[in-house]
């Protein structure tokens, strides 16, 4: 099963904290956005491996944009 990790709000990608292929568990942070001068952690809603990272550090993302795909 594939699950998309989406940006919870508009902002820029400050840090990607996992790499492609890495195993992650539910609730683990995938990326940290910077928005409204705040660090916004974006956790995975499922456990699995990171199939793809859809964004790079520094990218602007809108609310709902896909950040990563977890398999």
């Amino acid at each position: 099963m594939m699950n998309e990790v989406k940006a919870s709000m508009a902002g820029s990608v400050w840090k990607l904290v996992v790499q492609q292929g890495e195993e992650v568990s539910e609730g683990q942070d995938i990326a940290i956005l910077e928005s409204m001068k705040m660090e916004i952690p974006i956790p995975s809603e499922s456990s699995g491996s990171v199939k793809e990272l859809k964004v790079s550090e520094g990218d602007f993302v809108n609310e709902g944009d896909v950040i990563a795909i977890i398999e």
Partner: protein, 509 residues
Amino acid sequence: MAKNQTLEEKRKHISSGGAEKYHAKNAEKGKMFVRERLQLLFDDDMSIEDAFFANNQDDKLPADGVVTGIGKINGEQVCVMANDSTVKAGSWGARTVEKIIRIQETAMKLQLPMLYLVDSAGARITDQVDMFPNRRGAGRIFHNQIKLSGRVPQVCLLFGPSAAGGAYIPAFCDIVVMVDGNASMYLGSPRMAEKVIGEKVSLEEMGGAKMHCSVSGCGDVLAKDEQEAISFARKYMSYFPANYRKAPAQKESIDPVAFEKSIEELIPENQNAPFDMYQLIDRIIDEGSFCEIKKKFAPELITGLSRIDGRVVGIIANQPRAKGGVLFPDSADKSAKFIQLCDAFNIPLLFLVDIPGFMIGTKVERAGIIRHGAKMLSAMSEATVPKISVIVRKAYGAGLYAMAGPAFEPDACIALPTAQIAVMGPEAAVNAVYANKIAELPEEERPAFIKEKHEEYKENIDIYRLASELVIDDIIQPDRLREELAIRYEAYQNKDVTFTERKHGVYPV
């Protein structure tokens, strides 16, 4: 109904509901029979049931598909109406509607909470002239709900569909508990949507419990099964008085759960780094007393009932762990309703503040963030129950106002030493004031200049300086927070204030 049946036989027939096949169908879906639900809901059996014999001349319509009466929850009387989905799918006929209206009128007269156990396909189209348009037709149910609102608690447990007009029963309740997989709310069914507007969609996607509890906000609590929904209702009722003239019951104080990390250790020094506000809440409330409302909806703001030193307190807390704790249209909306709920039933409020402000950008402006924010401010401002605002960390811009800042007559605005109150954060402020100056400077001089201005700004908004100017009422040690709140809520318990005299405000809804 057979003429030669004895009273006992007639009773037995009616109390067994509809045909066996409908019971079996319900059981397959994990649905209990309406009378089993009521048995679980009440301390004992239902004490009074009226209009049990409704429509008894028709064998196939026991009680006309709804049970209405009075029973006890946690030792307190409540009124209830409960659809029986084994009788014509719980649909409403003329007597069904009359029964619901009568139990609402009883709740009004006796000033008792009103619970709605909904599992109904909606109106019986064949009976429409008798139950739809008239003075005591279905519209009167909603009219009564609106009249009861704020006088007595109104709770909706949604076990099955709540369709078309029926979907307004949950809409007018204080709280809606939805059973995952079975409960749904919609104006037009997927079949109708396909016919009328050409949309292909599943019921779960369009009006399912998960959707309503996380996206639309029409549902407040997602229960995994009926037992969980009912036990939530029993817990929820323990925080409320029977009506607006009474105060919620005080219980014996229970110490909070013991944690290794203190509140001080929990709060990061960097204002921009997230922390989990639930952990702070757990450290100040009585163990096991948190009853969260709308957990899955707008998680950047936490709302829930709790007890502090045995006293019921409604908590509104920013959650820096979700969306930075920034306020959005949905979170503003969520808090407005929660504040009204608490204020209506004399439940004191606690605001735990760590907020960078309201969200900005095209998306939220188009969604009307200004009017949704205004709705939150209105509800908060108008609440006359004891109100305490605790500035945990940052309180920037209109965020300070929305979270019961000093201008909104909280009984106290107290700060932890980590508090920072300002129009905006240091980074944004230095940028706003000195943007041109920074651009003019040679690049190598910029960092030093910015740092100097940051420091100046921080001194300017230093929390001791604000305390010296009487902006806040006190600065306290984080680990004394619970004790401080307990003392203050005790002192404020007889607060008696009328917000203002008028018919009603013109609310920014």
